[in-house]
Assembly symmetry: C2
Homo-oligomer: 277 residues x 2
């Protein structure tokens, strides 16, 4: 097949490498000419994704920031035509899907929202790997949840990426879930590392410190945009977390050992319920 | 050598298995007779650590809750004698060391505080492994930081456990560091999983959710005791974290994109400073 990729960052670059390794033809576009040139030299990209070549693709993956993804489809939507399936890879879905479903209708191309749940704290094509999505979840937001033909076609088109699981959902539900599973984690991790104690942790830290601060290392501009787009759900999660943290604070202030045991046991039980043994 | 182990839980059991595998003689004591019997049957323990056998040990590891560790040495200190090096393995050090340094002096045995920085969310001998401490940090709190002979002897005695690094520190500094690197991580993780959204995370979660909630699964009684013993440092860390989280909240409330980018970039830089690339 021919895959078109818009944006050769970590995500777009990893798709390019995955499809290239699986023997497919990869066309790509990046606003940074030197990144595009490097991707071509490295062999992962076969040529330019232009207005002329858009309509020849089987799959077009838009792997840029949310607002840029919408801009791209607004600008180039008229050239896509009926053949390609277009999927964006943005981390929030309401803003992108609300803008792109009407564009798809207007210009007559096939579009669904997507969110590949993978990444690293490093950004850019040079950190992209062909195995980035192996066994990762892929969230899909179709305009019509009953379009089984489209969904099976999408799974086939995405097979070379090696996803472990597909979740079909709405933009609303995606954004609510992602506020908890990913965005809140990034806020907490980024705040956690700001303790003055952090500078001296070596020799006193093991897995829990490492896990808690891993995603503190993030791309600030991208995450800030994602957070503000998903502000309602993210702030609700942050409020919930802080209200829960205050309960432990209260128990400690009052030296309330049974209360503290109860709070910790509630969390332990919840984790056991949710993730089993 | 002969190693005496008090408490055959996850930590004591893992030491028993490590020393047994390295060909050493392991004597042990546990208040639960069935755990002791099982450890003997499994081959990891050679016999009972009794008042008679205490003084024949080269190394005695006390792997029980802090208050129980102090009680044990108060009760049995008179029988230890000059030969063994006694190390407790408790997660807080001021309470234990403040009580045990004087006991060591009174009864004439050699004692230092210790904290092996390893574990799993499962408790008990059956989850103990001989490789539990491989490459983990071991914190040591000696009464006299200049006693180089004792410290090299301790490193030799602990060699079969396979620690990756020894940190020699004070009880005060240990407790301050551990409040940040471990205790706060457990509080946050335990609170994080309490979001109502958690129940539906599957298909929408990847590494950041997994890392953030891993240690939510903890032994409530043990951690509640450790938290209250280290309340001053832990509450200070919790206050710092919550004050930092409120800054992100404020930036979001005011749709302050540059402010949010700046906050996230500060955290990113801090993580880079602290843990390098």
């Amino acid at each position: 097949m021919t895959v078109g990729i818009v944006g050769l960052g970590l995500i777009g670059g990893s798709f390019a490498k995955a499809y290239h390794e699986a023997g497919h033809r990869v066309l790509a576009f990046d606003t940074d000419q030197s990144v595009f040139d490097f991707a071509v030299l490295s062999g992962a990209v076969d040529g330019l994704l232009s207005e002329e070549s858009l309509s020849s693709c089987d799959l077009i993956l838009i792997a840029v920031y949310p607002s840029a993804a919408v801009d791209y489809l607004r600008q180039h939507g008229a050239h896509i035509g009926p053949k390609p399936v277009v999927i964006d890879c943005c981390g929030t879905k309401r803003l992108v899907c609300d803008a792109c479903f009407p564009l798809a209708k207007e210009y007559g191309f096939t579009y669904l929202g997507g969110h590949p749940m993978a990444g690293t704290h490093n950004s850019g094509f040079k950190y992209a790997t062909p195995t980035m999505f192996h066994n990762a979840p892929m969230v899909l937001v179709p305009a019509d949840h009953n379009d089984i033909d489209l969904l099976s076609r999408v799974k086939e088109l995405l097979a070379p990426a090696g996803f472990g699981r597909f979740s079909i959902t709405t933009a609303e539900q995606h954004d609510e879930m992602i506020a908890f599973t990913s965005q809140l984690a990034h806020v907490v991790s980024n705040a956690y590392i700001k303790s003055p104690t952090a500078g001296l942790h070596k020799g006193f830290s093991a897995g829990s410190y490492k896990d808690m601060t891993r995603v503190a290392w993030l791309a600030p501009e991208m995450w800030a945009e994602l957070f503000l787009e998903n502000k309602d759900f993210l702030m609700a999660e942050l409020d919930t977390l802080m209200a829960n943290l205050r309960q432990y604070q209260d128990a400690m202030v009052h030296n309330d050992l049974p209360g503290l045991v109860r709070l910790l046991d509630e969390g332990r039980k919840r984790k056991e319920e949710v993730d089993g043994r």
